[in-house]
Symmetry: C2
Subunit: 279 residues, 2 copies
Amino acid sequence: MLLVQYKKMTDMTVLINGEPGDQIASSDRGLQYGDGLFETIAIKNGECEHWYEHMSRLADGCQRLNIRVPNAQQLLVEAQQLCSDKALAVLKIIITRGNGGRGYRAPDRVEATRIISVHPWPSHPDENITQGIRMHLCDTLLSYQPVLAGIKHLNRLEQIIARNEWNDPGVSEGLMSDIDGNVVEGTMSNYFAVINKELVTPEILGCGVAGIMRSHIMAQAILHGISVCERKIKLDELYAADELFICNSIIGVWPVRKLADHSYKVAGEVTEQIMDGLI
Amino acid sequence: MLLVQYKKMTDMTVLINGEPGDQIASSDRGLQYGDGLFETIAIKNGECEHWYEHMSRLADGCQRLNIRVPNAQQLLVEAQQLCSDKALAVLKIIITRGNGGRGYRAPDRVEATRIISVHPWPSHPDENITQGIRMHLCDTLLSYQPVLAGIKHLNRLEQIIARNEWNDPGVSEGLMSDIDGNVVEGTMSNYFAVINKELVTPEILGCGVAGIMRSHIMAQAILHGISVCERKIKLDELYAADELFICNSIIGVWPVRKLADHSYKVAGEVTEQIMDGLI
């Protein structure tokens, strides 16, 4: 009996409102309307990397959507239940507004649903780091929606449509622009470019996700004495950039070798500095 | 035992992939990313109103999102299981891309998930029909996203944010504009206006849902010898309109008595003709 319980604990991959299980009510507003948020967190040696930054963005998202902010301490305890024995894994936290009601109006009293799941670390070729990646330029544009910009919400159809524009496994990511021609982010990543010796990354005001690794790199850059500018970036500027790299919480940093037909030096001086600081 | 089974059948309110139950896998892409579509259908005397039109829009949405188109005959059988004994009810059908994968890329082989649920008919005051409704003008704008315009997808955060702008139960709906100032639709409805003796309704090209009741009214109007124009409509034109009404599959038609501070004649001649044709 004890053995069975122990096995169950180590095999456990999902906690829903603190209980082991992998099913949620079909009436949950996360499913009905995409009414919620998520975080994807790297687990290294049983620890949640950049935990406070993830919790801070999650709380910001909840406040902006008027979803009850989850108790970060409770989330940490649950994350540790799933991850403390994992050397390398991916933790995903979904917070939905909760269960209730047909109709867009949020119920007056509703408990947010929390879904915490652990996943195997994705296997990516080492060459993504050492030789850089190839990138697609997506036709699908990001819509302008400042009330959702920055937060990591569950309405991800734009990213799904964009990600399904290419099938070539040699292409690792796709860049998405907004309707004004500003290149904003990858389907699953943020990006930085070195333009005229300056490290620049798109502002996340009208669309896009304010990535945790993006913030971390900005802070790292400043520590290294590299100034960073957040601003609008057009495609022709990107083609003229000296260096280009993408980042997210799981992949860390991948230099870009090729964007559509344009080639970049891999890994340029600034990219290497950033990668050295991170890894 | 038979009695128990009979009770279970009549109490049944949700079928998931054809089986009674109200839980779905937390890894379903409908929850993870809002990766799916839905239809809300009026049940009257056990029959699904405008069934073929709903199935047609659902199939169009599936094709555009590259989700496997569900078998409409199977959906009808399942809808009848839930609804054949219902005099008046609401049927909701959700189709998600299915269960699978962490990441935006759609899995190569995946079975769509179908969630069919029946809900009580909502209670709205008769005055909504006889005296018209009051409407709010939403601050939240609809984003321009032609790849999603027209279809009834699960990414509904814009509508949720807009619907939560007002709490006054005397206000029945809110109108939403796009970023160019065109008034596109209600949070849960389409609208028609009579402007210079012409029935007009917004085009649904950059955003908005192509409502089934909207299409039905357009067809009805033509049958009544009333021409209908789909075009962009600005707010000042709406204020100058002679008549204004909203529609969806459940409410049918509600004349608008007041939009923000502006009053309309209820129900004007064209609105009455449309309501007579529908009810």
